[in-house]
């Protein structure tokens, strides 16, 4: 039996804490375990007994990278419970805010965390010494996302302008004009980014994923729609719990999500969104995707960096469209009358579908809260990718193999900081 152990204590460039252990015996991957150390569900407990109107601000603090997603899932769930519909310019402004978060988050991941994997650097600091112009472009692109979140959300990190029913304050049409001017340049930078990442070399690996995303016939999904899959699932958000379940697994204190029907893993995030909603991208964005080597479906997780770049381009176009069409609403919010009930919300965080469910008392107090973040939904897929792919890379030297494992995890942009901190990596060759 081949005897070799590789142990790495710290896996950089992922958000949060977790551990990865790959066990190899006689040239085959025996197991691949990706653990997340999730403390007790602090926020779910913290929300109990609080007013419904506090949920957007409290849940926004769960993650510094995707606060908008938490706010959006929270407000949609509350509005669902109270029978309130938010449409017109308020709905459009929410989409604009989400565009900002996608641009920020995807750009941060693509340039600062993931690109070094493809160009052979330990991290972005080393990469910047040789690819300064690319890094500068990435920083500028990310800043454009920050500017959107700042202007609509009120504050870059943990936006405070979002409320159930709409916003506390909405922008004047003329205030958005300078942002639109800047975004025209941003769109060009996003297109340059698609072309840049398309030139990377990608391991030729695919898996037949069960893709799951929010889907809406009229638009590429951000806030609203049904939950669909490529295996025929097509349900309203309220039926999420009938089709998906969270389970405790021995190696992780976090919960793992699986499909109830067959216990199978499923994939949320850029690959799933793109593959289920390609037709809803504008012709220009579709063309850019094609030129970047993507078909209408992408099953190669290493190409997720290209899909993220395409989604950034989409977000820039969508933001420009929203600003162009914007009409100032009569009121910054729709009045909300609390009532007892259960509300459901699922929106597309940069990393994938984020599900919230709240049970509310008559006076709008939160009796029960449930939050299922995208990374816990993707955890079984991350393990399956490792189990399937690592075996095909075993001829690599140890250091390169370890790097490839890290890259395989980083394909997911796992945001385990929602709950957790470092990631430990261990490869055990027996």
């Amino acid at each position: 039996m081949q005897v070799k152990t590789i142990k790495v204590d710290y896996l950089a460039r992922v958000e949060g804490e977790g551990a990865l252990k790959v066990v190899i015996r006689d040239g085959e991957v025996r197991s691949a375990v990706f653990s997340i150390f999730e403390p007790p569900r602090f926020f779910e407990a913290f929300l109990r007994g609080r007013g419904y109107e506090e949920a957007p601000d409290i849940t926004a603090r769960i993650c510094g990278i995707c606060p908008v997603a938490y706010q959006m899932s929270a407000v949609h769930a509350m509005e669902d419970a109270f029978g309130v519909t938010v449409d017109g310019p308020l709905r459009a402004l929410r989409r604009l805010l989400y565009c900002g978060e996608w641009i920020e988050s995807h750009t941060l991941h693509a340039y600062m965390l993931h690109a070094p994997d493809f160009l052979g650097y330990d991290g972005v600091v080393d990469m910047a010494r040789d690819h300064g112009d690319a890094v500068r472009l990435g920083l500028e692109l990310k800043k454009a996302g920050n500017d959107i979140v700042n202007q609509i959300g009120g504050r870059e990190i943990h936006p405070i302008n979002v409320r159930v029913g709409g916003f506390y304050k909405v922008p004047r049409k003329r205030d958005l004009a300078p942002l639109a001017e800047k975004l025209k340049r941003t769109r060009e930078q996003a297109l340059d980014t698609v072309r840049w990442v398309a030139g990377f070399e990608f391991p030729d690996r695919e898996r037949d994923y069960t893709f799951v995303s929010v889907s809406n016939p009229d638009e590429y999904p951000f806030n609203e729609g049904r939950i669909v899959s490529n295996r025929g699932l097509d349900i309203p958000v309220a039926e999420y719990d009938e089709h998906f379940e969270e389970m405790h697994v021995a190696h992780s204190t976090a919960l793992q999500s699986r499909m109830k029907a067959d216990g199978g893993a499923y994939l949320v995030g850029p690959l799933a969104r793109y593959s289920l909603n390609f037709e809803r991208l504008s012709p220009d964005v579709q063309q850019a995707a094609k030129e970047a080597g993507l078909g209408p479906v992408c099953r190669n997780p290493y190409r997720s960096i290209v899909v993220r770049a395409v989604e950034v381009l989409h977000a820039c176009e969508e933001a420009l469209r929203i600003i162009d069409d914007y009409q100032e609403p009569d009121s910054p919010f729709v009045p909300v009358e609390p009532r007892a009930g259960i509300g459901f919300g699922a929106t597309e965080a940069p990393r994938g579908m984020l599900y919230h469910r709240y049970r509310l008392e008559e006076d709008g107090k939160i009796a029960e809260a449930r939050i299922v973040p995208p990374t816990s939904q993707n955890q079984p897929s991350i393990e399956a990718d490792l189990a399937n792919f690592v075996g095909t890379f075993l001829d690599m030297p140890d250091e390169a193999l370890q790097y490839r494992c890290e890259q395989t995890v980083r394909n997911y942009d796992p945001c385990i900081s929602c709950a957790t901190h470092f990631l430990k990596l261990e490869i055990d060759r027996g």
Partner: protein, 160 residues
């Protein structure tokens, strides 16, 4: 001095002693020295770097979590050399204070002077108050940063 002086207090305001840096920033804001910009920040590297724009000197104050006793103050001059690995920036994010400094250095945007103060925290629990040792360290760091700013102002030629 050439370019303005900038003080950045880093941390998560909801995580106990993690907000030590922010507490220093708030303290200095009570009687802000003229010409000094004071900022609070969550520590995310790329937007932290963006704050450096146009600054001639920057003082960064962050919480640390090592084996030192709570309230221990350590000072690092990052002007010419990187921070010692693992000493500062307990950020749970992939990119923190050290990366912001080194990325700025690589891109040539690091201010001419860059000093980092680390205050050892006792507790990083959500919702916890500043522990007494850390509160005392906050006052000490506030005094030291003010003294350094005054010193820097005297030792460098006046500029914009």
């Amino acid at each position: 001095m050439v370019g303005s002086a900038l003080v950045i207090g880093i941390g998560n305001p909801d995580r106990g002693d993690d907000r030590a840096g922010r507490a220093v920033a708030r303290l200095l804001r009570e009687t802000p020295p003229p010409g000094v910009e004071i900022v609070e920040h969550d520590g995310e590297a790329t937007s932290l770097m963006a704050c450096f724009d146009g600054a001639g000197a920057v003082w960064l104050i962050d919480a640390s979590s090592s084996s030192s006793p709570p309230g221990t103050v350590r000072r690092f001059d990052a002007t010419a050399a990187p921070l010692p690995a693992g000493e500062v920036g307990v950020s749970s994010h992939g990119l923190g204070v050290s990366e912001a400094i080194e990325l700025a250095r690589a891109l040539g945007t690091l201010p001419a002077r860059c000093v980092v103060y680390a205050i050892e925290g006792a507790s990083f629990e959500a919702g916890a108050p500043l522990s007494p040792e850390v509160a005392a360290a906050v006052a000490e760091v506030g005094r030291r940063v003010l003294a350094e700013i005054a010193e820097t102002g005297r030792s460098l030629p006046a500029g914009d």
